[in-house]
Amino acid sequence: ELKVEQNPLFLSMQEGKNYTIYCNYSTTSDRLYWYRQDPGKSLESLFVLLSNGAVKQEGRLMASLDTKARLSTLHITAAVHDLPATYFCAVDKTSGSRLTFGEGTQLTVNP
């Protein structure tokens, strides 16, 4: 059974500082996704990582994938007020197959 674990589960950030969210998964896969969810809202796709060594960047967020370590990281540069949300990583095995989600990391920002 594929398991996906994120840490930390809660992250209280200070404005302007850098942070990293880690996503580990239990079985071989080279397909990993990051989603953002605002409270009471749906899931918004942030990044799709489909190969070992893949790196994607959008604004203050950068995601990378190491399939040998079964690890993805979401790096946040200089946290700001528009980042608070819950961030989920998810893994699937093949095209069209189910996504298995991590528990989510809830971000808040302190001024």
């Binding site: 996704y33 749906s42 899931l43 796709s45 699937d92 069209g96 197959s97 996504l99 989600f101």
Partner: protein, 115 residues
């Protein structure tokens, strides 16, 4: 930009009643999914649908659940006899796997409350 839509946004029902949740996937997508999220918890897969049949289902998707694509646009999830523990947000998603991206796009969700 095309979006997945879902109706209703909120459904309240009595335990034991049947509910039908409706979704309109993105029009040129081929795979359709239902997920649920109990309040404060992670997102859980229920079922996927491809080529007019179920392609994969989880252990949550028991005989009380069914899915249907009654026409070329709608995709429905039916719960025959709702239980208190079915209360959750239900998300529909769709995808069109291709060489460049396999993103599943999620709808806004239906919040189901079972009393």
């Amino acid at each position: 930009e095309p979006e997945v839509t879902q109706t209703p946004s909120h459904q309240v029902t009595q335990m034991g009643q049947e509910v039908i949740l409706r979704c309109v996937p993105i029009s040129n997508h081929l795979y359709f999914y239902w997920y649920r999220q109990i309040l404060g918890q992670k997102v859980e897969f229920l079922v996927s649908f491809y080529n007019n049949e179920i392609s994969e289902k989880s252990e949550i998707f028991d005989d009380q659940f069914s899915v249907e694509r009654p026409d070329g646009s709608n995709f429905t999830l039916k719960i025959r006899s709702t239980k208190l523990e079915d209360s959750a947000m239900y998300f529909c998603a769709s995808s069109r796997p291709s060489g460049g991206t396999d993103t599943q796009y999620f709808g806004p969700g239906t919040r189901l409350t079972v009393l």
